[in-house]
Amino acid sequence: MKKLFWLSILALIIASLFTSIVLAQQPVPTPSDDEVNHIAHQLYCPVCANTPLDVCPTDACRQWRDLIRQQLAQGWTEDQIKQYFVQQYGVRVLAEPPQTGFNWLIYILPPVIILAGAFVLFRALRMWTKPVPVSAAPGSNQDALKDEYVARLEEELKKRY
């Protein structure tokens, strides 16, 4: 029984060894254009302003796409490829700047400005539709004051004309 157990363990080790060898020998399939363009779309070549790498027609960008294809074929992950491009050509190649330092402003400011604008608009609309008498406190002598003011105004006008 004990012998059978050890034989099973040995068979398992040999089987796993063969499996890993076979898997390692399998060639990585050639990456499709879609796979390359998926990553290329997230990158911008500094030479071609405002043109994503996946649609840029220049030689420089074609070379970059070929490089991405090679890296994918070698089994690199999307993050590894993007990291390589940042290291080689600077952070400005990224379509989406990393969320560090001043770059945070890009992510924070637009929603803050939109919310602030919505708040201001909401307040303005409320005030336009429902004007509130500021000094019309209940029980005030506003009408009396108004009459007095009008009377004095008329008196002044009479004096002048």
Binding site: P46, Q88, P133, Q142, K146, L153, E156
Partner: protein
């Protein structure tokens, strides 16, 4: 005389925001304007020009294109020498026009010991860059403009661009576009050696 009267009209304005909120809003607005100003100012600066002190920078070199056995160089290493920094790329057709002239000029000066040529490969891929260097038989020091740091320091607008830095680290001449002959390159370097 009509003196000031109590307000009897209807006021359509709500209470103003508290003073602390106003201060925060104004500080944030001014800060934002300052950032925009500095960024615009920086982006609209032209290339560095003759007479400007060139800031120190470092760059790696391709294997086989090292300088005095060094695979990583710094501009400050060459204080006391005339330094030529040429920005190029394998995809750049005008660069091909001047490549043989640059190599010929390097062959002329390399034994002198007072001149250093550095090629900075701009936004390029290494296999294509190496093929380009081999095609034109380039032998002077060359390396990738890693992270486009050197090109940003010189604020280049494209390739080829070539910068001549004197013994004190001051830029003496900037060539925008390709050279048309070896003599043109010599006519820039020779006065700097006197």
């Amino acid at each position: 005389m009509i003196d000031s009267n109590p307000i009897t009209t209807r006021n359509h304005r709500g209470a103003p925001p508290p003073i602390w909120a106003q201060i925060i809003i104004w500080v944030a607005l001014l800060g934002l304007l300052a950032v925009v100003y500095f960024e615009l100012n920086r982006s609209q600066q032209g290339q560095i020009g003759p007479g400007d002190q060139v800031s120190n920078f470092s760059m790696p070199l391709f294997s086989g294109y090292e300088l005095n056995g060094q695979s990583q160089i710094q501009l400050s290493d060459f204080r006391g020498k005339v330094v030529m920094v040429n920005f190029w790329a394998s995809w750049c057709k005008p660069c091909e026009q001047e490549a043989p002239d640059l190599e010929q000029a390097w062959q002329f000066y390399k034994d002198d010991g007072r001149v250093v040529f550095i090629g900075a490969d701009y936004v390029d891929t290494e296999p294509e860059a190496r093929a380009y260097l081999a095609k034109f038989g380039i032998t002077f020091a060359n390396g990738p403009d890693m992270g486009t740091r050197a090109s940003q320091l010189f604020r280049i607008k494209g390739v080829p661009e070539t910068y001549f830095i004197d013994q004190q680290g001051v830029l003496q001449y900037a060539q925008i576009g390709p050279f048309s002959s070896v003599d043109e390159i010599k006519s820039i370097i020779n006065p700097m050696l006197k």
